[in-house]
């Protein structure tokens, strides 16, 4: 098995004449939590559809754990768990019965359903029909289903949407545990804080192309404006670029003279970075 668990080379997906994904190259390493972000229609959901076999690529190659997702689909299927953005449970069944059904398809024993229910803290409502679950509970049940067969790859579409802060933290912890155990996790999200806090690397896609790819910290470093904002004692505001001698000296003089009332460094702002990279508003 290659160190890259997921390899996407020259992926192109056409809907008629519209290219939803246009020559995407991407490699996701084993044991990393990878965030795929982008504005609506950027191509991240289409990429996930290709990875989960819902859509055939128009061109390019995609492999998971060394298996081609088109030619060796049967071998790829047991390797991943998938949490879709929309819940798709048998609502007339209880949470436990839902998991036991899917567990039988994966050939795992029924007790595994109880284990994952406990993991996502749904063991207390395991015997309640899913029709009575809240949106957050349904989301957690989706994660439980994806974890049933302990897959080496997890795909998650908006995994913490509709979750309360405690449940969102629980999901992030579970994902981090899976990554520590060697699994590869790919998630798409619109939550910049989640990307910043949870992901090892982030790929930003726009108009079907990858426009940035790096660790969140590196992205911060690359895109944080190295500027210091000063409010002078006379009330005037001034900005100093600390990458230049003139800026550094000017700031030092002002501070040394005691004419600086407040001094602030500009913080990394994922939203504005995103806007700059994609040229689109974040939705």
């Amino acid at each position: 098995m290659s160190s890259d668990t997921i390899r996407i080379a020259g992926l192109r997906v056409l809907y008629g004449s519209f290219a939803a994904v246009d020559g995407l190259d991407l490699a996701v390493r084993g044991g990393e939590l990878f965030g795929l972000i982008g504005p609506n229609g950027a191509g991240k959901s289409t990429t996930l559809r290709v990875l989960t076999g819902q859509r055939r690529p128009s061109a390019g190659a995609v492999s998971v754990c060394g298996y081609d997702v088109v030619r060796e689909w049967a071998a790829v299927k047991p390797l991943f768990g998938y949490v879709p953005d929309r819940d798709n449970h048998f609502t007339e069944f209880t949470g436990r019965k839902n998991l036991r059904f899917f567990g039988r398809l994966y050939g795992v024993p029924d007790r595994r359903a109880d284990e994952v229910l406990e993991l996502v803290e749904l063991d207390g409502s395991a015997d309640v029909p899913v029709a009575g679950y809240s949106l957050g509970m349904r989301k957690k049940l989706l994660l439980a289903r994806a974890l049933l067969h302990d897959p080496p790859v997890l795909y998650l579409d908006e995994p913490t949407a509709n979750l309360d802060p405690h449940s969102a933290a629980l999901v992030r912890r579970l994902l981090r545990d899976r990554v520590r155990a060697g699994a590869t996790v790919v998630l798409t999200t619109h939550d910049m804080d989640e990307v910043d806090a949870a992901c090892d690397r982030v790929g930003i896609v726009c108009r079907g192309k990858l426009v940035a790819l790096d660790a969140p910290a590196a992205l911060k470093q690359q895109h944080t404006e190295r500027v210091v904002d000063v409010v002078r004692t006379d009330g005037r505001r001034e900005a100093f670029a600390v990458d230049t001698d003139r800026g550094r000296l000017g700031l030092a003089e002002l501070v040394a003279a005691g004419r600086a009332a407040t001094v602030h460094t500009r913080e990394f702002d994922f939203r504005s970075t995103f806007l700059r990279l994609t040229g689109q508003a974040f939705e």
Partner: protein
């Protein structure tokens, strides 16, 4: 095909139906109706069988458009309007040279070969000689008037018309003889024969049982299969299963096994309640397989084409309505071959024959036709499932 996956998928289908109280209630109602029908069955040893008496329509069939036929056509009384249907003998539905009538229909045939006697054949539903009484009363009265008018036009003095009863052929012949005595060659000779139509009189219990058996198969194989498959597709449940190790072939196979089994089990319970001996008749099981297979093909075709549960429901119901209208229209218009292309034409015939134990050579032909059509529908459904990707 992996056994553990098929078992899981089949159990899921069963659990879904158990969780659906409406479906369970409908199944129980069907079984209850069948049991009730069995419990209320009359004692056949006493010869007491439910029958439908009378005839709701009567054909007047003729070999030539003669003044007699024209007179009859002009003098249909209002109470029989719409129930007396005139047609040339050549236009009557015939199978292998034998004219075929639907249940509850009789015929009065008039043949007037040049120079020969007027031959009137009365065909009443078998076992019910008085079924055409209303029609015969009218026919004889008007025929007598027509002949008398003709004789009067020839200048003959005639007595008033005699009263005619429905089953008084001797009186008709006597009256006619006397008429000829007076009128001479102006009145033709008359020959009458009355016969029962071949085939049994409709047994209402057998008809209801046939309807219930066909309904059980149609409900499970077309309605339930199509709507629940599309519901799974619409709610993303089919996707969830397709992303598991279950292959599309296994998912489809589970449905193709479960729904005919469900419909067949319900149908067998209904049939067994009507006549337990039918369960030992291979023709019954072959009929269930052929009709169930045909309905399965229809259901899977609807499921492959419809994207939503609503579309599947409309497809299943629309198909039934369209086929019913087609069969009705073809019967009314005398189109003979088009109905042979419908499983619904052969299905009730073979099921009814199996349920009543009256299987003839014709029914084996219908069975073969139903099996052939079932194979065609299943091939179409398989092709569509491979071609249409949702």
């Amino acid at each position: 095909m992996r056994a553990h996956i098929l078992a899981a998928l089949l159990r899921k289908e069963w659990d879904r139906h158990l969780a659906n109280r409406g479906g369970v209630a409908l199944g129980l109602l069907l079984v209850a109706a069948a049991v009730l029908m069995g419990a209320l069955a009359p004692d056949e040893a006493a010869g007491s069988v439910g029958r439908v008496g009378g005839a709701h329509h009567c054909f007047v069939e003729f070999d030539a458009q003669t003044p007699l036929v024209a007179h009859l056509a002009r003098h249909v009384p209002p109470e029989l309007a719409g129930q007396v249907l005139f047609r040339p003998l050549a236009d009557a539905d015939a199978v292998d040279g034998l004219i075929v009538y639907d249940p509850g229909v009789g015929a009065i045939q008039v043949r007037q070969p040049p120079g020969g006697p007027v031959r009137v054949s009365v065909w009443y539903p078998d076992g019910d000689p008085a079924a055409l009484a209303r029609f015969e009363g009218w026919f004889w009265r008007e025929a007598r008037r027509a002949f008398a008018d003709e004789a009067r036009r020839a200048g003959r003095e005639l007595p008033p018309d005699p009263p005619f009863g429905p089953d008084e052929t001797w009186l008709v012949l006597e009256a006619h003889g006397r008429l000829r005595d007076r009128a001479g060659a102006a009145v033709p000779e008359l020959a009458i024969d009355r016969k029962g139509l071949g085939g049994a009189v409709l047994d209402i219990r057998a008809a209801v049982a046939t309807g219930m058996v066909a309904f059980a198969l149609y409900f499970a194989c077309v309605y339930l299969l199509a709507t629940l498959t599309c519901e799974e597709r619409e709610r993303g449940l089919l996707l969830a299963q397709a992303l598991s190790p279950a292959s599309p072939a296994e998912i489809v196979a589970a449905k193709a096994l479960f729904y005919p089994a469900l419909g067949g089990a319900l149908a067998a319970i209904v049939a067994g309640a009507y006549r337990p001996a039918v369960l030992a008749d291979p023709f019954f099981w072959l009929s269930l397989a052929a009709v169930g297979g045909g309905f399965l093909g229809v259901g899977m075709t609807v499921a492959a084409l419809a994207r939503t549960q609503r579309a599947a429901f409309l497809g299943a119901m629309g198909y039934l309505l369209a086929v019913s209208l087609l069969l009705l229209g073809c019967t009314a218009a005398g189109v003979r071959w088009v109905p042979y292309l419908a499983v619904e034409y052969h299905g009730p015939r073979v099921l009814h024959a199996a349920l009543t134990g009256a299987v003839s050579e014709d029914h084996w032909g219908h069975l073969l036709a139903a099996a052939g059509l079932a194979a065609g529908w299943l091939l179409l459904a398989g092709w569509l499932f491979r071609r249409v990707r949702h």
